[in-house]
Amino acid sequence: MKNVLKKIAALGMVAAIATSATGCATSNQSPSSGATSEKKSGSKTVITLGMHVANVDQQEPVTGKIIKAFEQANPNITVQIQGNDKDAHVNKMKLDAQSGELPDIFWMDSSVAPQLNSSGVLLDLSDFLKTYPAVNNALSENMKAASRSSDGKQYGLPYQSLVTGFWYNKAVFKRAGIDAPKNGTTYDELIKMVKALRAKGIIPIAQGAKDAYSVWGFLTGLERYGYFSKIDSILNGKAKFDNPDFLKYFSKINGLGKAGAFPSNCATSTYFQAKADFTSGKAAMFDSGVWDAGVLDKSIGKDVGFWWGPTFQDSSDNQKVSMNVSSAPFCVSKAVGDNQLKKDAVYKFLAFYYSKQAAKISYEGSIIPATNYKVDANLESKPAFKAVVTALQASGWSSPKAQPDLVLTEAVQAQLYDSIYGTMLGTYSPKEALEKIDSVQQQQ
């Protein structure tokens, strides 16, 4: 009864805002009954998988292929997918958590997963890692630590590796008569590149502020000013985002904006328009990640390169920072632990998902898996993906424990994105941008 009341309460609140704003998000559910109660279709055990995309086969084809391979290998288990667009999915998971109807396994935003864990609705996967030591070994420590609470509970496991940075088009740089960036290219050198590209009418860095989250390459830069050495103090209220190091960094972003690094319609462009500018050869660089490798293989081919972003001579922190971290985690509903049959099926699925076979499927689909298996895959026909793999193999470059935004709450995360774009566009001064993040952090 309490759960029903909670669900009604949560639905009521959604309905309240829906009375003012209708048609806010699209939802595309594949057929599923959706609860965690034991389900058997004939002799098959059915496990439910909540995903952050409406159509897994089209939008996350690698995951779709892994699921199909798993079902082939385990004919007595069926994976039933419940897909929704990201925002709708996250909100639905919150509602489902309130009513005890979470899918068995589900993708969850990194900023929300710790809250779900605190509310006690997630299964501790430490037991899974003990049961499957091969998986435990295949997942590097920073991958596991990203979804582990301070009391040691493993509340999630990485969905994939999150590799982000700047794509660049060698042909466009050649057209502008300048060298493309490489590991170690400094901020001052980047500014010179920006000016040279602008002089030739080329957009230096494709960005789309309408999708505020699309600032991946610029998040990496934060770590070059010691983000993870400061963030715990900031989150504890002992320090601030508005500190001399971050101020230097935000001034650099502001400097790029003033130098004309971004498209003139950046404010009204989406991430997808920015991608179109890059793939059509209008832009020299594009802030994105490994997930775009497949598209870039087809559109730019051998001319595409991948860069970790500029280094900064006025920082004493490590500059050789790459970004290969855990993406948002897969979580498992705590209710799964109450049903041995279901638990076995879920464990088998996770063991397969983090297997060498699944890793091979990932590499073949231009996705870096969360695991570190050595896999033979022919990358010659995938130049963009090969560029990422090459960047990852760069000697001396290492990744932090997480992407900087993924250790923040949703609200602070949103303000960080807003502040970065605000600084790029000149809407905020660097100091104002940082003060805004502090202000939201104080509200948490």
Partner: protein, 293 residues
């Protein structure tokens, strides 16, 4: 018929409607108000924080920007729609050639989903890829104007798009009101020697009072809940400078996961729109009273 006239039976027949109204309107509004006094991430239990969200709201720069933008949209859309739709209805009420075709054409934007309207207008208003600036550039009149994405013109553009979308729908409501004015009264005014302007001012408008009120309420409530157009044109950005109350409420609730604060924004929007409606009714009552005396 006797059965129908019994109060008890009337109440019984009203029950289904009342239940729907209660469940989908009253309870959600009451709950939104309740949640506005809490800190809630959508997970676990909401924590009562008293008036903290409202104190934060008054100190929140973005709230004032959203309120200012909503006010700009409201004033422009209200003036344009109240007058524009009435003029269109008057024209459609004349026996002009091609009247039906014109009526269909004017009404057509109202049948397009607001989200599509937003997408459509991006291709007209976008500073870089939009049609208007392309024409300005091709005529050699400069690089164009920041119709959307800037601080000044974005709410004006939103109001214009909303005007374009709603004009035909509201003109149709006005037209229905015009059709209900008895012909005899207009004829009597004509016999008494009233000019076209006097007929409009002393006969048509007073007899359209209830229709005008309906349209006014629709415009007030409509402008306070414009969501999709803003979402498509600018998504409230860049950096919240084009947020309206409702897009900011959505952003705080669902993007930032601050359900309590989002509900305080929704509640504030609700009460502001109530106040605007009350002011409108107060002014029109005063006007009627003066006319009567």
């Amino acid at each position: 018929m006797h059965w129908l006239s019994k109060k008890r039976n009337i109440l019984i027949m009203l029950i289904p409607t009342l239940i729907v109204y209660l469940v989908y309107m009253i309870i959600p509004i009451a709950m939104a108000i309740g949640y506005s006094f809490t800190k809630y991430t959508g997970i676990g239990n909401a924590k009562f924080v008293g008036f903290n969200n409202y104190i934060r709201l008054f100190r929140d720069h973005t709230f004032w920007i959203a309120l200012k933008n909503t006010a700009v949209i409201f004033v422009i859309a209200f003036v344009l729609l109240m007058i524009g739709a009435f003029v269109v209805a008057l024209l459609l009420n004349l026996n002009l050639k091609g009247k039906s075709f014109a009526q269909s054409l004017i009404f057509s934007p109202a049948v397009i989903a607001p989200i599509i309207v937003g997408i459509l207008w991006v291709f007209i208003l976008d500073p870089q890829i939009g049609l208007i600036n392309a024409i300005i550039r091709s005529l050699g009149l400069g690089q164009g104007i920041k119709w959307i994405g800037g601080q000044t013109l974005t709410p004006v553009s939103v109001a214009i798009v909303y005007f374009w979308q709603q004009l035909g729908y509201l003109a149709t409501i006005y037209l229905a009101g015009l059709k209900m004015i008895p012909v005899e009264i207009e004829e009597a005014a004509q016999i008494d020697g009233a000019s076209a302007w006097q007929k409009l001012w002393y006969v048509t408008i007073p007899m359209m009072r209830s229709t005008i009120s309906t349209v006014a309420i629709l415009v007030i409530t409509g402008t306070f809940k414009i969501f999709e157009i803003v979402q498509q044109l600018t998504n409230g950005g860049p950096n919240h400078i084009s947020e309206t109350l409702i897009t900011y409420s959505y952003s705080a609730t669902f993007t930032n996961g601050e359900y309590g604060y989002g509900m305080s924004l929704a509640t504030a929007t609700f009460f502001i729109s109530l106040v605007v409606i009350a002011i409108y009714f107060g002014l029109s009552k005063e006007h009627s009273r003066k006319e009567a005396s």
